[in-house]
């Protein structure tokens, strides 16, 4: 038994750091929690994993029916215009809602076992990536069907945008999951936030008047949706104007979320 394995347990004071090393040691648990989230998500449903694709597809149908004119103005068929935006949006919405419930939903785990608490929201966000992959595959099929080729830049832009959506979802998820432990009000706020976010992200490109357009850039998902459409289906004029603000907002959200999470983490087991 080496000295280095001695764990000192004392009341923590002030800032305790992110403990990335520990998070890394628990990577297998992170994987198992994400895997469990994926496994149980569609258990005992008739359509099972198909729901991962059906959710954005059904929204696509509704939007094409009611707001088809926006797509026509962008010069892209309605279904693909909306679906290309809904794929990252659905990922984001699922990731946030699952992450915000990740601590309360695992209350039993929190009060019975030690593990780095950050694992729970991260696993929730990672699990949502699996749904994203399925929905994205359908997007590729649709692009082939419509004969739409992505821009060459998509190879770099799409992963970058996905990372941006992921960081934003995690940042928001950290805030909401930690707040949810003490304040269950969060459970009522999240669905509402997601409904508003849906419109603020998918229809942001239709707003051209300043300062609203820059303001909408504060919503990183507006940039992500816009970027997906630009790179994959060739609508719009890029996202460069909003990109800077989006990245900054996302980074701020992630950092502040992680700091807040780590600060209140010590009382989770007592409060949850």
């Amino acid at each position: 038994m080496s000295e280095s394995t001695v764990q000192v347990i004392r009341p923590s004071q002030g800032w305790v750091g992110f403990r990335f090393g520990e998070l890394w040691r628990y990577r297998e648990l992170l994987f198992f929690l994400a895997w469990r989230n994926v496994l149980i998500r569609y258990k005992q449903t008739v359509l099972g994993f198909a729901w991962a694709v059906l959710q954005p597809l059904l929204l696509m149908v509704v939007m094409t029916l009611f707001f088809g004119s926006f797509a026509r103005r962008a010069g892209v068929p309605g279904p693909i215009f909306y679906y290309a935006g809904l794929v990252p949006w659905t990922f984001f919405a699922n990731a946030v809602s699952q992450a915000s419930n990740s601590l309360v939903g695992n209350a039993n785990l929190l009060s019975k076992v030690y593990f780095p608490r950050l694992t729970a929201p991260i696993a929730a966000v990672l699990a949502a990536l699996v749904d994203f992959a399925a929905a994205f595959a359908v997007l590729v099929v649709m692009m082939l069907a419509y004969g739409i080729a992505p821009r060459p830049a998509a190879v770099a832009v799409v992963p970058g945008l996905l990372l941006l959506a992921l960081a934003t979802a995690l940042g928001l998820g950290l805030w909401l999951s930690a707040l949810n432990v003490s304040y269950r009000d969060v459970q009522y706020v999240v669905p509402f936030l997601i409904q508003i976010g849906l419109f603020a992200s998918l229809f942001a490109s239709n707003i051209h008047r300043e300062p609203w357009r820059t303001l909408l850039g504060l919503n990183p998902l507006a940039g992500v949706v816009e970027g997906f459409r630009w790179a994959l289906v060739g609508s719009g004029n890029g996202f460069s104007r909003m990109a800077g603000i989006s990245v900054a907002v996302s980074a701020l959200l992630l950092l502040s979320g992680a700091v807040y999470f780590r600060r209140v983490e010590r009382t989770f087991a007592d409060v949850v």
């Binding site: 038994m1 764990q7 000192v8 347990i9 004392r10 009341p11 198992f32 785990l109 076992v113 009000d185």
Partner: protein
């Protein structure tokens, strides 16, 4: 291995704010309202120390028990050492990989299969994937659920579910293991096996175990040293046997000290003039160490010692002493009778005793009745001294130590425990051999 303690704590304490624990959650409005109230009246939130000033050292390879009544801080201590919750003050040093079992089957999901749950639960308990894969067959075999590994655990019987959960826990082999009450649920025979497995590893691999339990029996089987917590503080640390005796004696207060003064002849007894000649003086209930106590352990002998005073000289008289043991609601379990003995007694104090051994009493509360009758060798009954409820005693759960291994508690079997061996099953003919009785 160094001589450094595996676990050392100094002045460890944990304070809870009252109200945090009991209510499930708070809303923002509650917090705001409370803040405002406190600002208004300057009233600090009420707090309670669940644990205070706990300093202890556990050597590597040692198995140590933690006992105490509900709310003594046992689980809080375990939660701090396993880092589930932070201490409010003090420091603890833990050397080595820690596995904590605050319950079995933490993280089990009903929709997942046995196999999936083993991996998930193993990972939650801190096992590596390779380690779980390596032990998987052993775990499943130990639980006896081989045919059902790919069935969702919600379809398991509750027994299978608990066995599988236990099996994973029993295969956890960290250097330090913190165990809380997990042995108090489910199939008892299986718990014994798991306990055995843990013990095996403790002995063979020098693993340090901190074991919290209400079941004094299993604490005794597993540990040499014991910590007695009371109201968050350490009341006693020492050899298990010793701490145990004091603990049982302390909580036996309710059941009496095991020493009863019976010399007051006016005290509720149904006595005839005999009492003027011979009467009970004292009654003592002794544990195997010879200590008088009202609280005894299941399966351990109880010695009943009686002192009798002869007030006058007694000549050629048959004296019979009877000690009856009854349940708290008055059902007589047995009478230990001395048998009528011809005695010649000078005035003075006399002493006798018998031992309830083997002790067949299951855990519970009992009442001792005393009864003395005399018969002259020529005439009939000359009188009696009868005391109903002369003393009370309790028997504490001690089932693991008693080696009772068939999955029932004694309570379920009845008030007393018997051990009648059955013949092994053997093949029998289909034909009924009993000759038919011809009627009429």
């Amino acid at each position: 291995m160094s001589s450094e303690p595996a676990i050392a704590t100094e002045g460890l304490g944990k304070r809870y704010r009252l109200g945090i624990r009991p209510t499930a959650y708070r809303t923002l409005r509650d917090t705001l309202a409370e803040r405002l109230r406190r600002v208004g009246h300057g009233v600090p939130a009420e707090t309670v120390w669940a644990l205070r000033d706990v300093s202890l050292e556990v050597r590597p390879g040692e198995a140590i028990g933690v006992i105490g009544p509900n709310g003594a801080g046992k689980t809080t201590l375990l939660k701090i050492l396993s880092r589930i919750t932070e201490p409010t003050e003090g420091v603890a040093r833990v050397a080595g990989r820690v596995g904590s079992l605050l319950e079995v089957g933490t993280g089990f999901h009903p929709e997942l299969t046995g196999r999936e749950n083993v991996f998930l639960n193993g990972a939650i308990l801190g096992m590596r994937r390779a380690e779980i894969a390596h032990k998987f067959d052993a775990i499943v075999e130990f639980a006896g659920v081989e045919q059902f590994v790919d069935t969702p655990v919600k379809r398991y019987s509750s027994g299978m579910y608990v066995r599988l959960a236990f099996a994973v826990a029993a295969h956890l082999d960290t250097e330090i293991l913190l165990v809380d009450e997990v042995l108090s649920v489910g199939d008892f025979a299986f718990q014994r096996r798991s306990l055995g497995k843990m013990q095996e590893q403790t002995a063979a691999e020098g693993r340090t175990v901190l074991f919290v339990s209400h079941n004094l029996g299993s604490v005794k089987v597993l540990t040499e040293r014991c910590i007695w917590l009371e109201r968050g503080r350490v009341r006693e640390i020492g050899p298990t046997e010793e701490v145990f005796r004091n603990y049982v004696a302390s909580y036996g207060g309710e059941s009496g000290s095991g020493f009863v003064d019976l010399s007051d002849l006016t005290r509720g007894r149904a006595s005839t003039p005999l009492a003027q000649e011979v009467s009970f003086e004292t009654l003592e209930l002794l544990d195997p160490t010879g200590t008088a106590t009202g609280a005894h352990l299941e399966g351990e002998p109880i010695t009943v010692r009686l002192r009798v005073r002869a007030h006058t000289g007694i000549r050629r008289t048959r004296l019979q002493l009877v000690c009856r043991l009854a349940t708290a609601d008055g059902a007589v379990l047995f009478s230990a009778a001395s048998g009528p003995r011809l005695v010649d007694l000078e005035p003075g104090l006399y002493e006798t005793a018998f031992t309830i051994d083997p002790n067949p009493l299951s855990a519970g509360g009992y009442v001792v009745w005393l009864y003395a009758v005399t018969m002259s060798d020529v005439a009939a009954d000359r009188g009696q001294d009868l005391l109903r409820s002369a003393a009370r005693l309790t028997v504490e759960d001690n089932r693991s130590a008693a080696g009772d291994d068939d999955g029932y508690t004694w309570k379920e079997k009845g008030l007393i425990r018997v051990d009648y061996p059955w013949n092994p099953l053997r093949a029998a003919s289909e034909r009924v051999d009993t000759p038919l009785t011809t009627l009429g």
